[in-house]
């Protein structure tokens, strides 16, 4: 048992349904030429109305009403196919998109990590259901057999040659993966199952049928190796949801946003990466777009966290025009390093790590709302205290620089003239004269002044005259 096939019978329809708030409403996909519109796929509640795949749209409208239609787009289907391959890449290093509507995963190497196959399979099913895709999963010793068996089975796991032969032998000829013409020819010869085809002499089959038929028969039984093209995850993530109607409030964008961030998280988990910066694009039609950049200080990939951060940024945006589509684009996907956590945490309940809290504060208050404090060896008070916006700077716990006099705990961002009566000078003067080299030179005499109100102020007088200026409080 080395390969698993995940068959996605309703890939295009599921791709449409998962962005609808109410997936149980009757809904059909319509394809075909403009003159003859055909139903490409129907969901279960539409099937209950009597609609079938392949029906003309006019016939369907005569039969029932009250179902929603959406256009079938092959490029959307291919996009979802690739998206799911990205998700499956988290479980196997060999994922192939060779067959339409199906993913092939090499699973032998993954069993050690994801447990025995039944547990692994349950996990795959759970995540696919959460992502909103219907599926059938079959495991078999070779990829072609897995794909063919998925036509008629779900949940089958075959190991060994003899069981594979038995399971394949019972397969009806129409479902054995031959082209329709070949399958019809076999049926007209009176052959119903694969076992009967195997019983035919090889040279006879080779003479009557194209070479692919024998090749396919050999590949089914693993007698011929088949080269599969492996999926390679892209280096950037682009997701887009068309809303189908115009949305004017950012509240109504939250549901599609949740889908987008969940998809981004699934993609990142598959790549074992994180995201540090991504852009939300709100498309207004006529090529007008609003870009909402979302930046993080450290790479993250938790779906709930990404949603919350994106939501915080989005809620502050004023929409200039109604939105027709929302897209998410992430270019930088740095490796993800999980935060180191203690096994026995001091604080018990709902403890949120600081990194997460910081992102939450920045999301609402602004990019540079949170910063650290850093001391620098400079005599000028304005330069001695820095507020580095990027916290990860690992500065040493240095001894205080040259701080000869007492320094106040609070510094005014800008000195202001000292009002009121002449204060009592307690200490000083302390001459600070520096900065002639960078054009920001300072020549001041600093005093510790006790005001009438009992406050201790740090005041200075510019050398060469001038009134007292208040620059800090000894709090």
């Amino acid at each position: 048992m080395r390969w698993a096939c995940i068959l996605l019978p309703q890939l295009a329809l599921d791709g449409v349904l998962r962005r609808c708030a109410d997936p149980d409403a009757p809904r059909v996909l319509v394809g075909g030429s403009a003159q003859r519109r055909m139903l490409y796929a129907v969901n279960p509640s539409a099937r209950a109305l009597g609609l079938r795949r392949g029906m003309a749209l006019t016939a369907a409208q005569a039969l029932a009403h009250g179902f929603a239609t959406a256009a079938y787009r092959p490029e959307d289907e291919a996009r979802w196919h690739r998206f799911l391959a990205g998700w499956a890449y988290g479980y196997s290093s060999q994922v192939s998109l060779q067959f339409p509507h199906a993913l092939l995963l090499e699973i032998q190497g993954s069993l050690g990590l994801f447990g025995p196959w039944p547990r692994f399979e349950a996990r795959l099913r759970e995540e696919l259901t959460a992502l909103g895709f219907r599926h059938r999963i079959v495991a078999a010793p070779n990829p072609v057999a897995a794909r063919v068996l998925a036509n008629g089975h779900d949940g089958l796991a075959i190991e060994g040659d003899a069981p594979l032969r038995r399971a394949l032998g019972q397969l009806p000829i129409q479902r054995a993966g031959f082209t329709p013409e070949v399958a019809t020819a076999f049926a007209r010869m009176g052959l119903r199952t694969l076992r009967q085809v195997w019983a035919l002499p090889r040279d006879g089959v080779a003479r009557r049928f194209p070479a692919e038929v024998l090749r396919h028969l050999d590949a089914l039984l693993d007698e011929r190796d088949m080269a599969l093209e492996s999926y390679r995850p892209p280096d950037r993530c682009e997701l887009r949801i068309e809303l189908g109607h115009e949305v004017e409030s950012s509240q109504a964008l939250l549901f599609p946003l949740k889908r987008l961030t969940a998809d981004l998280a699934a993609f990142l988990a598959g790549r074992d990466g994180g995201v540090q910066r991504f852009v939300l694009q709100l498309e207004h039609g006529h090529d007008a777009r609003t870009k909402v950049p979302v930046g993080l200080l450290t790479p993250e990939r938790d779906a709930a966290l990404l949603f919350e951060l994106a939501r915080g940024r989005l809620e502050q945006v004023q929409l200039p025009a109604p939105v027709g589509a929302i897209a998410l684009c992430a270019d930088e996907l740095p490796p993800f390093v999980p935060v180191h956590r203690e096994l026995f945490d001091q604080r018990p309940q709902q403890a949120m790590p600081w990194e997460q809290l910081r992102e939450r504060l920045r999301a609402r208050l602004g990019e540079d709302a949170v910063h650290g404090v850093q001391a620098r060896a400079d005599h000028r008070p304005e330069c001695a205290s820095l507020s580095p916006p990027e916290v990860p700077v690992r500065h040493e716990a240095s001894s205080p620089g040259t701080a000869p006099g007492a320094r106040p705990g609070w510094l005014l961002a800008k000195p202001v003239p000292l009002r009121g009566p002449m204060p009592r000078l307690v200490a000083g003067p302390e001459r600070i004269e520096s900065g002639w080299w960078d054009g920001d030179d300072v020549r001041r005499d600093y005093y510790l002044a006790r005001l009438a109100s009992g406050q201790d102020a740090w005041v200075f007088r510019p050398v060469g005259g001038g009134g007292f200026m208040l620059h800090g409080w000894f709090a």
Partner: protein, 204 residues
């Protein structure tokens, strides 16, 4: 649950009034001022609760009151967050007071409402050792929210407010008024014991 709870754990928070005053337990959050620790029922700052500092004007010694505790917390690796401070914290002075600057974070907010929100988030997260805020024009309900957040995140919360607010009741576990002249502290309210009548001279 069925967890065994020691009776001491129930009695120590002193939320139940008992007939005989018990010996105050050794404080786990000493203020660093011996005179103040001696009179406070918790033996220091009340743990996981809001403490209120009432000051007549900026720069009358509110930082000197807080610095020893902040220095101890920051050196123990706990984070100290200032939410919307009225002035810039001047790094050399904080360093001289023993505060590890790597653990010091400043949050700037636009409106007083944002400041309250940020304070509550920091308190509730449980990832900070102490959170300082300067709430402006707040009512009893906002302070109660901060008190509940401090309790649920098990974090020390300090709110610095003007002295004029002393006449209004407050849900804070501890209220200290700072007088500039003479330099002293007055404990207006402390949960778990009677507030000392005598003011405590500063520097004791």
């Amino acid at each position: 649950m069925g967890a065994v709870v020691a009776i001491d754990a129930l009695l120590h928070p002193q939320q139940v009034w008992r007939g005989r005053p018990a010996m105050p337990p050794a404080g786990t959050q000493p203020t660093g001022h011996a005179g103040l620790d001696a009179v406070l029922p918790a033996g220091g700052w009340p743990e996981a609760a809001l403490s209120e500092l009432l000051i007549p004007a900026d720069g009358v010694g509110e930082l000197q009151l807080l610095w020893p505790a902040l220095a101890r917390l920051s050196r123990a690796g706990e984070r100290v967050v200032l939410v919307a401070p009225p002035y810039l914290p001047f790094a050399p002075a904080w360093q001289q007071a023993g505060v590890d600057l790597r653990q010091l974070q400043v949050v700037h907010t636009g409106t007083p409402r944002d400041a309250l929100w940020a304070t509550e988030q920091c308190l509730r997260s449980g990832s900070c050792g102490a959170v300082l805020c300067w709430p402006l024009g707040v009512d009893d309900r906002a302070l109660r929210r901060l008190q509940v957040a401090a309790a649920s995140g098990r974090t020390l919360a300090f709110a610095t407010r003007p002295l004029a607010a002393a006449i209004h009741p407050s849900p804070a576990a501890l209220r200290i008024a700072i007088d500039a002249a003479p330099a002293q502290w007055r404990v207006l309210k402390c949960r778990g014991g009677a507030a000392p009548v005598q003011p405590i001279p500063r520097g004791a």
